[in-house]
Subunit: 432 residues, 2 copies
């Protein structure tokens, strides 16, 4: 391992995502460098307006408004592009790769339209071009398609990859809101733009599906190959009728490969209520991949926003930085490097479910409640069930507010000793 | 790229998973070699009983009962271990790594108990030790924890990683079966072993959780650090009461890191019915990771079986084989290499949902049905809704059996031209 290697990063764009990446590289440089095995340094940050106030504050000597200060700096081995849009981003990516720099981008539009050419250029220059953040935010679907799932022939991708439309459809379904109102709410929350065309007409999802389908099928699928139907014609009734028929309505991005032919489309569709995709709500995304060996694998997570997108960008960056350091060696492997204390179950803080078989007579619950109260265990609910007059027994089900395991176990021993308690049937924890 | 490089694989074990791996390496050698960039050859296969009949039939000259024929063969660069159990598997892994061979294993027990030592040995020998198949079958959670999610500090893992117990609990919940009967069913289906202790008492899940927690927290978490509670005390009533309280019961494997202290446990717990984990049914597995940047990311897929486990093993094998070929170059990147036809949406075969605003009078449905029938579009259901006597209108919702898009669009044009049809409100596809 080349121990004096330092990896210099040029960051292009300091918006929502760029700010998150800068924060990670500046604020957590030590943690990240440790994971990589070499120091990582943020050397330059390209912005449009030098004087715009920003959080986090990036030292002003890192800031530049001239892209060539990154693209032409031989010390910068790795360029992160989070500007978005087609131009000038595509030009920057092209120039960075041409200059032999590794590139990480979050740019779905550029990758959907120019991905094959840029990847060919990267291969020719023997550098990496990674773009995990271009689809699905914090969901690592791009890398999984490129690597982990590679043993499979993939048959299909079915996905919810536009958070804006999914938020709108979720509101329409749950609050019986009409489309215009749900759109306005999405705009008020910053989930939809003033001109929402790109999202609600399916362009954004088509870019992302083009990327996923190209990777999944090792083929060229462009946004122009994808049929699109927007969500603006949906009305409250559609959700009502769909529900009655046993379906949710979701805007799906689907690509299938069958008999050597690819079918790719983005449209609102009816999805059976018990399907996992029907349960993807709000700004969450999900991608379901169907492979010859793995069967159906579903990935679910936040599809956009500063944190999730930064997770993907910085993940790619670490991946490349590790390879740069590894040279002919394999990448460093996960090794224990923390001596965390391992807690006893006694220290668990949880809610509890307790089922008791008791003698069916007055005052039983009071005795049990007193013991729990003495142990500082607060009762959340009580059900009295299944009275059995012949045996004079009943069942009591108690749920608690958060309590300490050791206290609950101690109280349970006392409860079990009560003459009126025939048997402690079960103690379960409630995971919320 | 060293074009004359050939990668020789030694496979140890030819059971359910080993058979799947052999089938992939023998039957799909060309496809896999293409993905790797170099020929991959299955050179030797270790079995216990040479004469046991097997599917697929592995050429008899590849079969050996002597492990040293793999461990001591200098031509074999990569050993795949799918024997299972602690010994002799642990010894084989140790010897393979000591001999400078890369290793892929599906062995959760060995990785949980001896992972840190084996990983240290691999690092010392500058070889890879990958173990994606040890947890979650076809779900790529191990690699994602080691790589893609590395930008995050992880707070928690909550998972369903034992398919046997999840199958039993799903049966108990949905069929109100009692534990013994559900266990017997699981055994009849081959999901549970004759002695089911390892699964139902949580040992299997504890091995897997030890692996996940060690990776997630960069710490040493052993199976002995994990609290276990089995599922055998659960009764039909518990599911009934839980449901009434708004919960499912799932056997969860959980590890959390808080204030420098790890809490790890496997137990049946109550999970809110609207949580994704409550919806993981049958032999499926799911892992939810909560990270500082990515938020909650959930992975869902088949946790065991020949296909899913082979997907993970062969995925690891491709990963290593690519690196072996790549030397100082970056790994080959996904490039289009297929010229699949891209289908028009006209060729889509789907079920459809059609909503029409019509004049509310007799014979309307007959006219519409005739047009659909003429187009070979078979009706699955009809709802007549929202009669409006003032305007003399009603809504008709029709769902179809699978039909061709072009036929549906053509029929819809004819339907829209009917005098009795005021407006075609929506046409949606049904995705099942």
């Amino acid at each position: 391992m080349t121990s004096n290697l330092e990896i210099n990063v040029g960051l292009m764009g300091l918006g929502v995502v760029g700010g998150g990446v800068a924060e990670a590289l500046l604020g957590r440089a030590n943690v990240i460098s440790k994971k990589v095995g070499h120091p990582i340094r943020l050397k330059k940050v390209l912005v449009r307006d030098r004087h715009k106030p920003r959080t986090p504050s990036v030292p002003s000597d890192l800031i530049t408004t001239n892209p060539e200060e990154i693209l032409e700096d031989p010390e910068i081995q790795l360029v992160v592009e989070v500007i978005g849009g087609t131009q000038p981003a595509a030009r920057y990516l092209h120039d960075a790769l041409s200059a032999g720099k590794h590139v990480v981008t979050a740019n779905k539009e550029v990758m959907a339209k120019h991905g094959p050419q840029l990847l060919a250029l990267a291969q020719q220059k023997q550098v990496n071009l990674l773009f995990e953040a271009s689809v699905g935010g914090g969901i690592p679907i791009v890398t999984c398609l490129m690597n982990e799932l590679l043993a499979n022939d993939l048959h299909s991708i079915r996905s919810i990859i536009n958070g804006t439309t999914n938020y709108i459809l979720t509101r329409m379904a749950h609050q019986h809101t009409d489309f215009q109102l749900a759109l306005k709410e999405a705009q008020d929350h910053g989930y939809a733009e003033a001109d929402p065309t790109n999202d609600i007409e399916g362009h954004d999802a088509a870019y992302k599906l083009a990327i996923l389908a190209s990777l999944a099928f090792h083929a060229r699928v462009g946004p122009e190959d994808i049929y699109r139907q927007g969500i603006s014609r949906l009305q409250a009734q559609d959700f009502r009728y769909a529900q009655e028929l046993g379906y949710a309505i979701k805007s799906l991005a689907i690509a299938t490969l069958e008999d050597g032919s690819i079918q790719a489309r983005v449209y609102p569709a009816l999805v059976p209520l018990d399907h996992m995709l029907a349960k993807v709500d709000g700004v969450y995304n999900a991608v379901e991949v169907d492979g010859s060996l793995c069967g159906k694998v579903l990935f679910h997570g936040m599809g956009a926003g500063r944190g999730p997108t930064s997770s993907a960008v910085v993940g790619d960056l670490i991946e490349i930085a590790r390879k740069l350091g590894a040279a002919t060696h394999p990448v460093p492997m996960a090794q224990p490097d923390h001596n965390f204390q391992i807690q006893s179950i006694d220290d668990l803080e949880s809610r509890y479910y307790l089922r008791l078989n008791v003698t069916d007579r007055a005052g039983v619950l009071a005795q049990i409640a007193r013991i729990l109260g003495d142990g500082n265990i607060s009762i959340a609910s009580v059900l009295q069930k299944d009275s059995n007059p012949a045996e004079q027994t009943a069942e009591i089900v108690i749920t608690t507010h958060p309590s300490r395991e050791a206290s609950v176990q101690e109280a349970l021993r006392l409860v079990a000793d009560l003459e009126v308690v025939r048997e402690v049937k079960n103690l379960l924890r409630i995971e919320e």
